[in-house]
Symmetry: C2
Subunit: 433 residues, 2 copies
């Protein structure tokens, strides 16, 4: 099936084809429109859509291939102001590269997908073909590129750490047990311990990878498996250095979306986030007052996050707001306390358009502080021996953060449910496709 000349032209390149020359398109039949005297095939490939005009006498005995069939088309490029890119293809020779396709579970050619979420998810391998769906993931993919490019430029080293671990990272709850050669292992809830340990090696590290939370609640913002964008780096003064780095990273991600996924931005009518040069910060205790919550409330409720998000947009024109100083008793043992008042912590959550997107902060870095913190929580330092070894052997003051990819994209496109921006979501009810 080696294609003879001409070689393939992508749909987006068709606009540059010389009218009158022979071109070859390859792709899915996105739309078949059969009129009395003339028919149209809209061909979809990775670059976009192209229009092919078929006269009635050019249609063979089998008729025109149905939608989603994969075809090879050789025809003549012709100017037409109404075609995408101003060029369409006429006098086509249509070759099927596969069987005529079965009718898709949803009409992929309609500009808007009206199917409900369960239909979209149950048929994900096919429904992601819809241009509006595909655009969502193109936002995600550009975000990943921007994340890495920003950190590479800042002297970070990419790491890849194990997802099979001997004990729970963050807490005993919400871990998936694995039968590991007859022993019990767990799926990592985060690369937290590893990224910290590797700050001792590379000083600045990041990782993009899956994390696993056996989250029993079925909410619009939780997944059992999601992509975590983890950053950790040494030689900081406190969590404000971490927040500054987070700002640089979010800006780099936003710029990459604008640069590399411009069409997706347009298609989704996406409003790119406004991130000020300095991210506004509010202390947790002040945030409680602002939302009218009792002063001893240990956490912010989703409704509180929404109020604070609105306030940040109104007050600072900012889509992001950092809430610093979360109570130590609600933060993991490795959290660095706020030096002048150790009820509070040198950590923050970043609220993005009313939803918690990032958790970050400064960590403890002295061995003695770890032993003390674990003991105070009634935990045995011996249970963390391997981890603590790193600190006994010298670790710089450090901190970091983790961004949930799906939450980022979800809030960017203001999707009501995080599953809409996840290729193949996993939750308490869903393990397929």
């Amino acid at each position: 099936m080696k294609p003879p000349v001409p070689s393939r032209t992508l749909a987006a390149e068709l606009t540059h084809a010389e009218p009158g020359t022979e071109v070859r398109l390859q792709g899915h039949v996105h739309r078949r429109r059969e009129l009395a005297t003339v028919s149209f095939l809209i061909i979809r490939d990775r670059s976009g859509l192209a229009q092919v005009v078929v006269r009635a006498d050019e249609i063979g005995d089998d008729g025109l291939p149905p939608e989603e069939t994969v075809v090879d088309i050789v025809g003549i490029a012709t100017a037409n102001a109404h075609a995408p890119g101003g060029i369409e293809v006429v006098s086509p020779v249509v070759t099927l590269l596969t069987e005529p396709a079965a009718t898709p579970p949803v009409e992929l050619w309609r500009p808007a997908l009206t199917a409900g979420l369960p239909t979209l998810l149950d048929n994900a391998p096919v429904t992601w073909r819809h241009p509006a769906q595909r655009a969502k993931w193109q936002i995600a993919s550009a975000s990943l590129q921007g994340f890495r490019a920003t950190l590479d430029a800042a002297g970070f080293t990419e790491i890849q750490t194990p997802k099979l671990v001997a004990s729970a990272t963050e807490s005993g709850a919400n871990v998936f047990p694995v039968d590991y050669f007859g022993r019990q292992a767990f799926l990592a809830q985060s690369p937290q311990f590893y990224k910290q340990q590797l700050v001792g090696v590379f000083e600045r590290v990041y990782e993009v990878g899956p994390v696993f939370r056996a989250e029993p609640h079925d909410t619009v913002r939780h997944l059992a498996e999601y992509v975590s964008l983890d950053v950790e780096f040494g030689f900081i003064s406190d969590h404000h250095d971490v927040l500054r780095m987070l700002r640089t990273v979010l800006t780099g991600m936003t710029d990459a979306i604008a640069m590399q996924a411009g069409e997706a931005v347009e298609l989704l009518q996406l409003r790119l986030p406004s991130i000020p040069d300095e991210i506004p910060v509010i202390h947790f205790s002040e945030a409680l007052t602002r939302v009218g919550a009792p002063a001893d409330e240990p956490d912010l409720a989703p409704e509180h996050e929404r109020i604070l998000g609105d306030w940040a947009l109104r007050e600072f024109g900012s889509d992001v707001l950092a809430v610093e100083g979360y109570p130590m008793r609600k933060r993991p043992f490795y959290t660095h306390p706020q030096p002048d008042d150790t009820r509070w912590s040198n950590s923050f959550d970043l609220i993005f358009r009313g939803l918690e997107l990032v958790t970050g902060g400064q960590r403890l870095h002295r061995y003695g502080d770890y032993v003390e913190a674990l003991t105070a929580r009634g935990e045995s330092p011996a249970a963390y021996e391997g981890y603590l070894q790193t600190f006994a052997h010298g670790m710089p003051p450090h901190g970091g953060f983790a961004i949930g990819l799906e939450r980022w994209v979800g809030r960017l496109i203001e999707a009501p449910n995080i599953r809409e921006v996840t290729l193949f979501p996993r939750d308490v009810h869903r393990l397929t496709p």
Copy 2:
């Protein structure tokens, strides 16, 4: 602990410091050398090493900090032809950023690490700090960058697919079972099904992520969890298009190592691979003859791969050799047969310096062919319903490959054991650190 002026100078930047000016270094004490009248502290940071000279009268009551302690040093940059980069720091004010460090399990300052593999692995968070160890991962990290940059430039979309799956991908063997909310799930052995399905969406996709093999054998080339570099793309003629893309990718990875990890290449005295413009190809049946194996042998043994690797280097000056046409009965059901002789397949293994590094090839793309292939193997197409849906709805001819990151780096540096190039290896015996 906000550092006052001067701001930090990285070790590698010290060479540009104006002699006589004040500079600030921050890092681990890599080496402490105490002589009668003068002592030296070698400071290690993410960029390299710097030398600090301490006169006897500059040492406080606590003495000089032991190796691996993290310090902040302010002193005067001074020319010294014998110091790294031609500049050292004198008249230092040394501030400890943590407690004096405990003695490391291995002497990290020695040019060569002489400890055995178990010691290295048991103490990985600390032993990776050794410059020669660190260099190994810098090769890996540069490889990942080169992999992605090459594919981004070729119009590929990065994907992230679930690692929790409802059934085994490749075969029923060697899967890790997971307790998934009371149901049984498995850890994905590869993203094979997902990457194929997403070829229907994005046409060209890649993924970097963990894969899991419950490999019960303790060998120098197997891991229970490793990083798979997966590629899949549509509109190919046959597996030779896949092999050409693989060549482009391997060349991009090699170039990235040369560009971004030059110092690591030098430190490890690494010979970068020689990859010809066209990768030499030998048919499986011919390979059997060449290694003197029986004609009905279904696979190549490690010894055969070594012989073939040597032959390719001798014959073609190539570090890589593709063996195409592996017997269909030993390949997974989605493998495309060799059109002129269906005992053989349109698939290949790539041997890199005598070790299988990559498996790739053309896949079936017609729904009918899948039903037939599964039925012929005594499997029920119904069991693959979700996967097969993609093909019923139209899929282009396609293929792809998967590179094991650790095998790539292992053969690059000619490590006798793959665990040496894995940050935190997992195998039948090892689940920590």
